[in-house]
């Protein structure tokens, strides 16, 4: 099949599929109602720009909080997860108690639903009535919950990466007189990082959306702002706006991840030829 013919066919099939889906949507008995409730251009615009006097906030502006929470959580997760992974990979007998703590930590935070961790920190910490710890904003508790939960996952990604570097690389590094830490720093980690970037970015795409869970603590992030709008105006189009904004946020990262995976694959194939 020629390339042009293939392109024409894929275009045609795309149009047919999308057309069919649109037809079902429009022909559905409740179509008009749904379009008004979820896709009202007027309501979408209103919720996007917001009107605090009317009791609702801009969903677009609220997204900025999601982005900030994501960035803060991302950096902390990368650090905490690496510490956990390195501890769990350590072999020294002295570090045994730390290894146990690391294992329990990962088991617990991978097992408990993120929303429960958000609740526990968001309502539990203020209830402790401590200085500093109990007086933070909802966003701070939310970020802390995201960091605790995601670090457990990401530490496993790190560990897989560390294990992917062959033991003979450690032997080669140590035989030069490099210490365990130097071998990790100069030989093992640089090789591990290459293999873990795609799965790591995958987790971060997920993290971007999960910042929406912090809304349950009352922080005005995009999802919460959309909820306030729908509570005030009784129209759900604000949620559609929030969904579109999250898509705009996550799709570039998703494409970037695909790009890295494809590049890595190509490199491997090129390496295999030699």
């Amino acid at each position: 099949m020629s390339r042009r013919r293939a392109a024409a066919l894929s275009t045609l099939s795309t149009i047919v599929v999308l057309g069919a889906l649109a037809a079902i949507f429009i022909a559905a008995p409740g179509s008009k109602q749904v379009r008004h409730t979820f896709f009202s251009p007027h309501a979408m615009w209103q919720s996007l720009i917001g009107n605090p006097k009317q009791g609702y906030y801009s969903v677009g502006e609220a997204l900025w909080l999601n982005i900030r929470m994501f960035l803060a959580a991302e950096v902390l997760i990368l650090i905490l997860a690496l510490v956990i992974a390195v501890i769990r990979q350590s072999t020294g007998p002295v570090l045994f108690p730390l290894r146990v703590i690391g294992t329990v930590y990962v088991d617990v935070f991978r097992g408990v639903p993120l929303i429960l961790v958000v609740f526990a920190l968001g309502f539990g910490m203020p209830a402790l009535a401590l200085k500093v710890v109990s007086t933070q904003s909802a966003a701070v508790y939310g970020v802390a919950a995201l960091v605790l939960s995601y670090s457990a996952y990401v530490s496993e990604v790190y560990r897989a990466g560390l294990n992917s570097v062959h033991q003979s690389q450690v032997a080669a590094a140590r035989s030069l007189g490099l210490s365990q830490w130097q071998a990790l720093r100069h030989v093992i980690l640089p090789q591990a990082v290459r293999t873990i970037i795609p799965p790591l970015l995958n987790d971060f795409i997920s993290l971007q959306k999960d910042t929406a869970l912090v809304g349950i603590l009352g922080a005005i992030e995009a999802n919460k702002a959309a909820e306030l709008y729908s509570d005030t105006v009784f129209n759900y189009s604000s949620y559609t706006v929030a969904a579109i904004l999250f898509l705009i946020l996550t799709i570039p990262l998703a494409r970037f991840t695909d790009h890295l995976i494809a590049r890595d694959r190509q490199r491997r194939l090129a390496g295999a030829v030699r």
Binding site: A171, R174, S175, L176, G177, L178, Q182, H186, R194, R274
Partner: protein, 265 residues
Amino acid sequence: MTGQLAGAGDGTTAPAGPAAAVRIEGLRKSFGANLVLDGIDLSLAAHEVICLIGASGSGKSTLLRCVNLLEPIDAGRIWLSDEEITAGGVDENLVRRHIGIVFQSFNLFPHMTVLRNVTLGPVKVLGSSRQAAEAEARELLRRFGLLDKESDFPDRLSGGQQQRVAIVRALAMHPQIMLLDEVTSALDPELVAEVLDVIRELAASGMTMLIATHEMGFAKDIAHRVCFLEDGQIVEDAPPAELFTDPKDERTRRFLRRIVDAGRL
């Protein structure tokens, strides 16, 4: 170099007489229930080249890895020069910088150029300046015909080139002794010679070497002494002329007969 490796006053006694480059006494090592080294005694003088021969699994590689402290030993003692390196309180990182080892599968660092592979040890372990380390690395690469490869990554090189880089990487640390672990076993036949030539040159320059090898002809040429290992023991230890032509032990004879039958000698 007394006191350089061990903590002060640990009371290890140096063997009498001129210190051997490496001395091994009663070395035992097992992996689980599998006894791999069963009482090895071996002494290697400075500038001496000893080849270890024997079937796969006879313990040659494990012996080399024990000397480099890459494998913890179960019993026995090892001295490097006059310093016991198996004593308590010895900093194994300090020991290893004096011992070069080259592996069967090269084990170059794939994320570094040839030059960085060679300079990593001198810069990070010996504390050399980058300029000094690179100048010396280039000198070594030139000596072994690899200077035009300094900016290449290892996967760009042939197996023979990679193994020569691995040898250069070990040499850049100025080791007192080189341990070579079947360094030609992973190579295509046509690439073996270039690596053996490098080792010949090292031997000619007076490098002390302990070489595990399957290349009998090479062992015959280069070694001052050849040790035949079987079941974790040194069965026979003799100059090559003697061991290859007039082996004393029945087990050595059996092994050499198999090698001859396979057309390898």
